[in-house]
């Protein structure tokens, strides 16, 4: 599907000029100008937090830039999301942006119900929605409420919504993050069809092969700055990654750790739960076990069921410390027996954002920070300061609210609060999602340190280099089962992806 | 037997009357607690089958109760208006359905009297007036400054008692001046607090008397005086009720006068008037509960023995 031949350049449809966007003190987008031509697919790449989504939200009128201007066909865009929609800009959000109780048809037509004198023409609505899903080539029961649809279908409903608007510019922010390879192929083919009809597409993805598969041009953002804009033919995947990262990152990451695993500490047998179909897995003291697989494979579900965070339908988990084995039936029992869990959703599940860092750190450690259930504030402050130091929190002010910290530092706080318990088993789900490179390196160091001190570490990560780099053993999960196990030496991106995708790979260039 | 011949009441034994009593309170208020047994006892004696509703002083709710009652086609409706100004539609509906209505406890507006078949009960306005008369007598024409503690804001008994008191004072002894008034919500503790505050606001030394709209509140007002180190004895204090809380205060002389209100009389006579109407007798006059003034002299009389 590689578009080797450059299409004749159409007129510029949308352009953003000198866009600046700040959040508080931080600059998310710094003086970025881009322009997209009719009929082209414009790739946008960059690390987590580079400012891609922010820039796109500005294009779609959802955020107002602090400086600069967006123009559609030469006309400056004012008046928010609605005006942008009317001007022909449709955005498919990175996070699903659907109303759970409304039907597929209604979600597709959200904000643009066809009306006569205010009344919805439901036949027309269904017709337009049906046309849109036909256009993107999927089958969806449009009368079902969204809550009853699978994640992939929801993603296509989002896309159908954008398409139904008959936009001039279609922006997709990581649309394939939740799709299987087959679904991804389908989507990419569809986008190429749309572009061929003259639609301009802005396409964001972390999956480099996809970029090379469909994009005509690609722009690289780093730390809010536009680093480079190239025709796809002018670059290579390696080059692109270098530009995204800005330095030779591999050197930082490839720290090989001497591991000599001890006895099995964490042992899961026959775990069944919604989305998990019988997983057995052991983690030894001092060992880092990685869980790979595609998004939606059931890794999070497995981890949560095994630890008792969510109910499981069958299976047992045993934690062995100091020669004593304990069956773990509930999450609280797991915590009591030295398990630490760092959840995927940091902001909603990991931290009390409007409480101080000290309070967040104190929460799982409250027993040791109190006598007879009376807290000891001095001890808490000391304890929290030490832990904040040890994870390299910046700024190291434990009295600040956790919510005031950047994503990476928040993740450090989540890790710090568990470090205090000196966990024997630590489970981390996507430990560096949304974390910048510097913090990522430090978090990796912390994870290795834990293992070196004898903890059994289980890491779930969709970030392949991270997974390969950290893990002594990688289990690849597919459809709620272990599809294969690779030792640290034999695991590489290709082998993991092969297992994850059930033998089918996204076509790479 | 049943004059309106409803299907429901036809199953009852002969000689029984179906009567709805639409009340705004029941056993949720102290007054109703003694009113109801007397009413029920009298009804049993007269072969009356009572259905009692309680609208909790919500006029809408009572209007709805009234519609229920009219629809049930009883032989008679006894009405205790929740809000006097709002009962005309209920009366009209009953008349349209040929159901006589007698009124108890607080009367309907004069303009609505033609729609009712009789009234028995205290004269709430008259009680306020009677309490004012005691106050006037005690003041003996001297300039007298008093505080007033009202009932629950917006409540019709509270309004009538206040109007009766204020208008009588204005007419008969303008030498009595009301320095301040606040609601005591029929509660002893609320009354005690607002009385104490009013004493502060107008200056305790300027206060010569207190009127409170019921005995519970006057007990709070007297406590407020005591708490400020003021002897209630020389002050002119009147209220309404002669309840078990108020009567000892009258005897001790702290409370100079109150107006006896017999809740059992009220409940009993509500049924008596109703049965007269049912028997075809016309009730000419309103049957007022005697607004007996209770002072230290007659506080022990059995006919004013406190009931609640």
């Amino acid at each position: 599907m590689n578009r080797s031949t450059s299409e004749p350049a159409g007129p510029v449809v949308i352009e953003a000029e000198s866009i600046v966007k700040r959040f508080g003190g931080a600059v998310a987008v710094n003086d970025v100008s881009i322009s997209v031509r009719a009929g082209e697919i414009y790739g946008l790449v960059g690390e987590n937090g580079a400012g891609k989504s922010t820039l796109m939200r500005i294009l779609a009128g959802i955020l107002r830039p602090d400086e600069g201007e967006v123009r559609v066909e030469g006309k400056a865009l004012h008046g928010g999301a609605k005006a942008a929609l009317e001007a022909g800009i449709a955005l498919v959000h990175q996070e699903l942006s659907l109303v759970p109780e409304m039907t597929g048809a209604e979600n597709i037509m959200l904000g643009s119900f066809p009306t006569t004198a205010g009344f919805i023409r439901s036949a027309d609505m269904k017709k337009i929605a049906a046309d849109a899903i036909e256009e993107i080539g999927v089958q969806i029961d449009l009368d079902e409420p969204i809550v009853r649809l699978s994640v992939a279908l929801r993603q296509f409903v989002e896309i159908a919504r954008a398409v139904a608007r008959k936009p001039k510019v279609l922006i997709l922010d990581e649309p394939t993050a939740t799709l299987t390879p087959a679904e991804t192929d389908h989507l990419l083919a569809m986008l190429q069809r749309l572009a061929a009809k003259g639609l301009s597409i802005v396409y964001i993805s972390h999956r480099i092969p996809e970029i090379f598969s469909i994009c005509d041009r690609v722009a690289v953002l780093r730390d809010g700055n536009l680093i480079e804009m190239m025709d796809i033919g002018e670059t290579t995947p390696d080059d692109l990654v270098d530009k995204m990262v800005g330095r030779d990152l591999k050197l930082d990451l490839q720290i090989h750790r001497e591991s000599n695993p001890g006895d099995v500490v964490f042992s899961a047998r026959g775990i069944h739960a919604p989305g998990v179909d019988g997983i057995d897995l052991d983690v030894r003291a001092g060992e880092i076990v990685g869980l790979g697989g595609l998004v939606g494979a059931g890794r999070t579900e497995f981890v949560r069921a095994a630890l008792g965070v969510d109910p499981k339908t069958a299976g047992t988990v045993t934690v062995t410390t100091d020669g004593r084995s304990t069956k773990i039936a509930t999450y609280r029992a797991a915590v009591r027996n030295g398990v630490a869990y760092i959840p995927e959703e940091r902001r909603t599940d990991g931290l009390a954002l409007n409480m101080s860092v000290a309070d967040n750190i104190a929460l799982p450690n409250r027993a040791r920070l109190s006598t007879g259930s009376v807290l000891k504030p001095k001890m808490i402050a000391e304890f929290a300061t030490n832990l904040a130091d040890s994870v390299g929190l910046r700024p190291p002010d434990i009295r600040r609210d956790a919510g005031e910290y950047s994503g990476g530092n928040q993740q450090k706080v989540v890790i710090a609060k568990w470090l205090g318990r000196e966990p024997r088993v630590i489970v981390l789900d996507e430990p560096t999602r949304g974390v910048d490179v510097g913090a990522k390196t430090e978090i990796h160091r912390l994870i290795r340190d834990l293992a070196d001190r004898g903890a059994a570490v289980l890491v779930v990560s969709s970030d392949l280099p991270e997974l390969l780099d950290l893990s002594d053993v990688v289990h690849v999960i597919r459809d709620g089962r272990i599809a294969g196990t690779l030792s640290g030496a034999e695991a590489d991106e290709k082998s993991v992806m092969t297992l994850a995708a059930g033998g089918r790979l996204v076509e790479a260039s | 037997s049943s004059s309106s011949g409803s299907e429901e009441s036809s199953s009852d034994a002969s000689g029984e009357y179906e009567v709805y009593a639409l009340l705004p309170q029941g056993t949720d208020q102290p007054y109703g607690t003694t009113y109801l047994p007397a009413m029920e006892e009298e009804a049993a004696k007269n072969g009356i089958n009572l259905t009692i509703t309680n609208s909790q002083y919500d006029a809408d709710r009572q209007a709805s109760d009234c519609r229920v009652a009219v629809a049930a086609r009883p032989d008679l409706i006894i009405l205790w208006p929740a809000v006097g100004d709002t009962v005309r539609p209920c009366l009209a509906a009953a008349q349209a359905a040929d159901i006589p209505v007698t009124v108890t406890n607080s009367d309907v507006n004069p303009g609505d009297k033609d729609l009712t078949a009789g009234y028995s009960g205290p004269d709430t306005y008259g009680q306020g007036a009677a309490s004012a008369e005691i106050m006037c007598e005690l003041a003996e024409g001297n300039p007298t400054n008093i505080l007033m503690v009202n009932g629950l804001t917006g409540n019709s008994t509270a309004i009538n008692r206040r109007d009766g008191f204020v208008e009588t004072i204005e007419a008969e002894c303008p030498n009595v001046e009301i320095l301040a008034e606040q609601p005591g919500n029929w509660n002893k503790d609320d009354s005690q607090t607002v009385t104490s505050e009013m004493l502060t606001s107008v200056g305790a030394e300027n206060v010569d008397g207190i009127f409170a709209a019921d005995d519970t509140m006057v007990a709070g007002a007297i406590d407020a005086l005591r708490a400020q180190g003021i002897d209630p004895q020389p002050l002119l204090i009147t209220s309404i009720g002669n309840t078990e809380l108020g009567n000892p205060l009258v005897k001790s002389g702290d409370l100079d006068g109150t107006i006896f209100q017999s809740s059992s009389w009220d409940g009993q006579n509500a049924v008596l008037v109703a049965s007269q109407v049912l028997a075809g007798e016309t009730v000419e006059e309103d049957l007022f509960m005697p607004s007996v003034k209770v002072t230290q002299e007659n506080a022990d009389d059995p006919e004013v023995a406190p009931e609640w």
Binding site: M102, G118 | E8, A59, D60, S64, V68, A71, D85, A92
Partner: protein, 342 residues
């Protein structure tokens, strides 16, 4: 290249009965329907007069249901309006104070709209949680009703208009019932067929998504609070007309009863779920229960115990609640097992 143009993701619902089951499964009104059936059966056994006196029952349903209908508009958007009872009182007083009845009605309804707009202003523009903003209004408006009326009932100038308003139009149908039905139909059509109303579900279900899709969220919230204010004012007008006087203490039982009707009807306080029909069913069951208990001669205290219990059972038998409780029980049992097992 992709070979097929269309791909199937997960099985689509096929077959009539499967579709019907799916359609029924997503209704939110089941709790109200079950309760209604129980109440109707109970009433048939213990107080059959409820049905012979159906105009009364209807009237009572209209009494507690009207405000609930307006409230539903706000709750669907995930907000609350605690000020409805006070709004009812203020608008009634405003109406009775104006000698001309048409002017009075107009002013009263306008008052409701203004109150709704003020509530919305606090919620939308100032950014206060609606629970608190309308709590402030609950106090302030009640105070205003007392101040305007001098804390006494205000008799209507045109008493005859009021009396005739209370009379049935055709058969047992009084204007109150007609207005209630009209409001029901209007709101039902509004939230199911009219774009702005349908978008209430989006505002309550996923506000960010609603905003991103270009739905004017602020305007929808203003509309919702103004509907609630307007309907409460309408209830005030109806009460004032029927009672020929405005009572500044009015509505004391209305707030909690109307909340109960909406909740029993399956309207979720978190927004986005529920229907006007559900509220109607909730009001019907509570109304029949209330009238039935009254006709059966049950005193008010016991009625309250009944209604409170029904509400309590309704709220803890929500499927999510049962799941949560079952989860706790399982956890408890498992924790006992794990203590004994090792």
């Amino acid at each position: 290249m992709t070979t097929s143009q269309t791909m199937s993701l997960g099985e689509a619902t096929t077959g009539f009965s499967a579709r019907l089951r799916a359609a029924l499964g997503r209704r939110t009104e089941w709790r109200a329907i079950i309760l209604l059936v129980l109440v109707v059966v109970g009433a048939l056994i213990f107080a059959p007069t409820v049905f012979t006196a159906y105009q009364v029952t209807l009237g009572f349903v209209a009494l507690i249901g009207l405000i609930a209908l307006g409230l539903t508009a706000v709750i669907l958007m995930g907000e609350l309006d605690l000020s409805v009872a006070s709004t009812l009182a203020v608008s009634g007083v405003v109406m009775a104070m104006v000698p001309n009845i048409f002017l009075g009605v107009t002013l009263a309804l306008l008052t409701g709209l203004v109150i709704g707009a003020v509530n919305a202003f606090f919620v939308v523009k100032v950014g206060i949680n609606s629970f608190i903003a309308t709590l402030g209004m609950l106090f302030a408006l009640r105070g205003l009703a007392f101040v305007l009326s001098d804390a006494e009932p205000v008799p209507l100038t045109d008493i005859e208009a009021g009396i005739s308003f209370g009379m049935p139009l055709i058969g047992p149908i009084t204007p109150r019932i007609v207005l209630f039905v009209l409001v029901f139909i209007a709101l039902h059509v509004f939230v199911t067929r009219v774009r702005a109303g349908r978008e209430f579900y989006a505002v309550g279900g996923n506000r960010q998504a609603a905003y991103d899709a270009g739905i004017p969220v602020s305007r929808r919230l203003f509309t919702g609070f103004m509907i609630s204010g307007f309907v409460a004012a309408l209830a005030g007008v109806i009460n004032t007309l029927e009672l020929i006087a405005a009572d500044p203490t009015a509505g004391s039982t209305a707030l909690l009863a109307s909340f109960a009707a909406a909740i029993i009807g399956g309207v979720a306080l978190t927004g986005g779920r529920g229907s006007i029909v559900g509220t109607l069913l909730g009001a019907l069951s509570l109304g029949i229960l209330g009238v039935g208990l009254t006709l059966a001669g049950v005193q008010v205290d016991i009625q309250q115990i009944f209604i409170g219990s029904v509400l309590f059972i309704a709220v803890i038998t929500d499927p999510a609640s049962l799941r949560a409780a079952a989860g706790s029980v399982v956890t408890f049992l498992q924790s006992r097992k794990s203590q004994t097992a090792v």
